[in-house]
């Protein structure tokens, strides 16, 4: 096996496009996962069965089916009902929705970890439900779970190549396209592996630092 530095050089412009798309999918997917996960977690705690039950069923369903199947469903099946998104948008929705069911569990653990005395103090002060959540419960719950949420961002980064299968040319997609055209798979695939670790490892160090600061 020969290593060809000129192939690395040739791959660079496409790699850059791929990195940008990966980061785009990651940031937008995380935003969806963080927001939607919180909605799920709060809805699951609702005393209204008509709210909590369907949400529990939906999140269990999404969490227990493969992301790849969900991506294919969103990209190839939804158009049957005339719902069509671009590959990137589909990828972002797929990643965000799938991971929202994990972050929901994380939020739930965080909310359960807030002592019952905090709820009682809110009742004793007659704080409205919305204020109880926004000013007292969530700030305490989320602070505890920031590191766990961060770990899911890293997991999502590592799952992001799946969106290549529906044609979103993130890093892996670019590498595969490049190697198909040049018959040189070694360099591009190796390079994206290195780039993944260059993003993921500092990110996990950051999470560990956050954990030390936030969770005591």
């Amino acid at each position: 096996m020969n290593w060809d530095w000129s192939a690395v050089g040739d791959f660079m412009p496409r790699l850059w496009d791929g990195v940008l798309l990966t980061l785009q999918a990651l940031v937008l997917g995380s935003l969806i996962a963080f927001t939607l996960g919180l909605v799920w977690a709060m809805a699951q705690r609702s005393s209204l069965k008509i709210v909590s039950w369907p949400v529990t069923a939906l999140t269990e369903f999404i969490r227990n089916t493969p992301l790849l199947v969900q991506l294919f469903f969103l990209y190839f099946v939804l158009p049957e009902w005339n719902v069509t998104f671009s590959a990137l948008v589909t990828g972002v929705i797929g990643l965000g929705l799938h991971y929202s069911t994990y972050t929901a569990e994380v939020y739930r653990a965080g909310i359960d970890g807030v002592p019952v005395g905090q709820w009682e103090a809110c009742t004793a002060l007659s704080l409205p439900r919305s204020r109880t959540w926004s000013a007292v419960i969530l700030p305490q719950a989320i602070r505890r779970v920031v590191p766990a949420l961060g770990n899911y961002v890293i997991a999502m980064l590592k799952d992001s190549p799946m969106i290549a299968t529906i044609g979103a040319l993130e890093m892996l997609g670019q590498a595969r396209q490049f190697s198909a055209e040049t018959f040189q798979p070694t360099e591009p695939i190796t390079v994206i592996g290195v780039v993944f670790i260059l993003i993921a490892y500092p990110a996990s160090l950051l999470m560990r630092a956050l954990e030390r600061r936030l969770v005591h």
Binding site: P115, G117, Q118, E120, A121, T123, A124, L125, S126, L127, P128, R131, A135, V136, P139, Q140, R143
Partner: protein
């Protein structure tokens, strides 16, 4: 005081001059098959300081938690300042209270907890202003003014910008007292407020409460094991046993000349 119904078992409050602020009528509370309060009737007149004593498990704390709507009674009614707490009247009928109704009635009641329950994510000042701003609709300035006055009362002015975890237990409890008073409640519920404190911190908290008891007209309902404190601030002492009031009267009478054997046993164990 009043004995509202023929089923009332024990109500021997001395006659109160003010109007009745708290009225328990035939209140029963069970946890599973365990009857914690058994057809309880008692009233507290406005402005009175009443201490509930008795062995643990006798239902004292349950009474405070019922008043704070942290628990619901299985039977009976509770009135606060003439309004039903756990029920509301709708079309001439008494139905279980909705959230809005109980929140309105609850505003008249403040509570201080054994474990303080300050909000650890807020500084001392905002712990106190949060509810006045978002429940009573005070402006931020008005609420902060009120908070500063209360912090002076509890002697913690210099800690206004600290987080609860930076304070000692005694200081936290004094903030919690200020936080409850900031809502200007008519009734203050004190649930074993010194039980979680190191012994050397108890006096500071009790001094603040004595001060409040002697200088304001707030009604106090107090569960405590500090008998000297109870003697100091109470107008009435109610002795509980097995979910009933078995004896009540002035602190002088209860502490020095109790009628009931169970009261004598209890007092000799704690004094």
């Amino acid at each position: 005081m009043s004995t509202d119904s023929s089923t009332s078992k024990e109500t021997k409050n001395p006659a109160a001059d003010g109007s009745e602020l708290i009225e328990f009528k035939d209140v029963t509370k069970r946890f599973g098959s365990n009857v914690v309060l058994d057809n309880l009737c008692f009233n507290v007149a406005s402005g009175k300081h009443v201490t509930l004593i008795g062995p643990s498990g006798s239902g004292k704390t349950t009474i405070l938690r019922l008043l704070m709507t942290l628990l619901k009674p299985e039977e009976g009614t509770i009135k606060v300042a003439g309004d039903y707490l756990t029920h509301e009247e709708r079309g001439g009928k008494l139905v279980p209270a909705g959230e809005r109704h109980s929140r309105e009635v609850r505003k008249k009641i403040g509570m201080v907890f054994q474990q303080f329950n300050l909000f650890p994510n807020m500084r001392v000042l905002r712990n106190i202003t949060e509810a006045p701003v978002h429940v009573l609709g005070l402006s931020k300035d008005e609420a902060e003014q009120r908070a500063r006055e209360l912090l002076e009362l509890v002697g913690l002015t210099e800690h206004i910008d600290k987080y609860p975890t930076q304070l000692s237990g005694g200081q936290q409890q004094r903030v919690a007292i200020a936080r409850a008073l900031a809502m200007r409640p008519q009734v203050l519920l004190l649930d074993e407020v010194t039980s979680a404190l190191d012994p050397e911190l108890v006096a500071g908290v009790l001094d603040v409460l004595r001060d409040i008891a002697h200088t304001t007209d707030i009604t106090m309902l107090c569960v405590t094991h500090e008998m000297n404190f109870a003697r100091d601030i109470s107008d009435d002492v109610l002795m509980f046993d097995a979910g009933r009031v078995i004896e009540s009267g002035s602190p002088e009478k209860i502490f020095s000349d109790p009628e009931h054997e169970r009261t004598r046993e209890f007092l000799s164990a704690v004094l």
